[in-house]
Amino acid sequence: MTEEPASPKDLLGGAGIGELASVTASEHRPGLVLTISGEVDISNIDSIADAIYGLPNTEEGLLIDLSDVTYLDSSAVSLLHDLAMRLRSRAQQMIVVSPPATPPRRILDLTALYVNAPVADALDGGLKLLTGGNAPL
């Protein structure tokens, strides 16, 4: 149903954000997939934000895959919120992937309205949302 994504191209070159987390980005037409792993807090949030804001702005939308994030707090929530607001104002969409019943997902659920972006349980579903436009959650 969905077309095969183009072979992933690492746009950030696997930027290690300190020792705590790492961020990689790749193309999945018509969007970008950003994969964060590790722990996200006030100590590395600015580096992560810089990496994300440095991405090419040529795509339809952004998928942020948090499946490998083991810890996040309100600094990450604020970043997601800023990103969602920014993308929305450009008629782009942002989708977050976070598996259910994990600590990061719990924080996302508690702050869901603030982040204001669809959260998919797994990458597959997230990609469908990204490629399928405004599909229901």
Partner: protein
Amino acid sequence: MAEYHDRPGTILLVDDHRESLAALRAVLEPLGEPLVLAESGEQALRALLHIDCSVILLDVRMAGMDGLQTARIIRSRPGTRHIPIIFMTAGSGELEEITRAYESGAVDYVVKPFEPEILRAKVGVFVQLHSERAERVRESRARAEAEAVARAVRTLQILSDAAMTHLELDELAAALTLRSAELFGASAAALLLRDDKLPGLHVRARAGALTLGLENERIRVGEDLLGEIAATLSGAILQARNLDAEDRARAGLVNGLASLLVVPLLSAGELMGVLLLAGERDEHFDQRDLELLTLAADRMALAVDHAQRYADGRLLVETLQRSLLPERLPVHPRMHVAARYMPAGLAPQVGGDWYDAVELDSNRTAVMIGDVVGHGIRAAITMSELRNALRAFAIEGHSPEEALRQLDRVVLATRGPGMVATLLFVVIDAAEGTVTLARAGHPPPALRAVDGSVRFLETARTLPLGVDPNEVPSQETYPMKPGETLLLFTDGLVERRGEPITDSFDRLLDALSEAPAEVDALCEHVLRRTATEQGRDDDTAVLAVQLLDSAVGALELKLPARAQSVTLARHRLRAWLEENAPELDPVARTDLEVAWSEACSNVVRHAYGPAEASFDASARRVGNELRMTVRDTGQWRAPGNRSGGRGLPLMEQLSDELVIDRQADSTTVTMVRQLPSDGSGTAILCP
């Protein structure tokens, strides 16, 4: 147009544009929760008086009272303070407006026009949170009710304790029956007990102005109405108007008696008897009375059982003595407490020695020891009264000298002169490292230093309680260091007939000096070393308190106010939790990590200017309570835009209790989380 529902989970929509309300309603109706629509802030506030609301969607810009004013009023009312408010803003959502929205108590905001699916899913989260919160409130109400019952039971226990002064069974039965009738306002009461020689339960005592009609003064277990109830081994309430004439007579409901409370007396699961209370009104007894009397009946059954089995009352006396001492001593992370009570010789007597220990707050524990002159039930009851009164004074926060002054007044008022009791009251403050004590005619406590040296902590010598109303006790405060042990004792420990008291005190000092460090072993050692071969002439109680090093068990960090410190603090907490709260599941552990990180992040972000600064973070566990504290000494700035104001709501949601204490020169954030007592660390408020 406001529609009032009195159903839980109501969503309140507030917007001064009808079209917006209609649109919101269409979006949220599929959730299946009741919706209430309000066209102004005033209308919303009125509606909130009538509904149990799970979440409020509030338009910021409204004619008249705007959304921010409305929110502030909602936050100021105790009944609505907890309701999450989601602000709806038009257009871009300007930063200043968003900031003000958070200041007025918003949990979130959405920018119009919103995406229907997302809005619906997110509001659903709050509806779910609400139902979980409601469940928690119900539980805490149930707890409060249970406590009310427990209070009543304690009252009843005191009465039944008093009733036990009559060791002879008939007197005991009469007292129990009379006191129960009085306590429950019954017009008639009867206690039926089993008889070894005859089948069935037989009337042993009656009380009340009216008389229950019981055929042959007995109940045949398993037969007729009352016999069937007795056979179930559980209590019941009967209303005469619901019974036919025959059953009414069998239940004894004659002579104008309209309702009956039936409670079995069970000892070790065995039916000892039945207590019947009758009232002249319908519904004279309610379910709570039944529960209360059922609890009391267990105790009565025990007393009856003892009275029946032990003619000399030996076991009863001992049970009474034991029941007047605390069942367990408080567990404190910075103190070890142990106590022993030794009855005198072999006489079946109750002594008047007692001790108690009460945790006052997380740092302070009160310990007390006393001796009522004389033996037997009367001394024991006096001691019970003193103990309860002193416990109350301690919990109310009276200083030792004030508590003793109050107690002296109580003794003089209720007992009159002649009742002599000695008392030592000590408050130990683990944080300050101090011992504050006052005494009334009691030996002073002994303090053993880390090097084994021992000395007595003296105060001005005073008379025993109840002697002289003009006698004013005074208190002294001494330092107490970690590793030091304080020993409180009654004079049975030191008094020996025909021996100078100074010799006895010297023996005690020697015994304490060489006693093992561990408090239980220390008490045993001191008792053994001071006993004579013939046993003791007098009852003896000892209580030992050892102050522990503050580092034991607690996590204490002092870190520079830098972002990297937040990560470090979290990793240290994680390791500490693994060791000190291993039962926590990963989600609950993350809750605590997030709450802790948020508190640390706030300090790093807002507390200090450019200069190098530091903050303190500590975590400790007391029983099933985890307490995390983050303290800085900076001047807080207003939140900047990157923080987004999300930290505080998260801290609130992830802890059971959040207290932010802002002083002129410091800010202390305290977060408390209760661990489930069954040991499973389940998450709270998890949608």
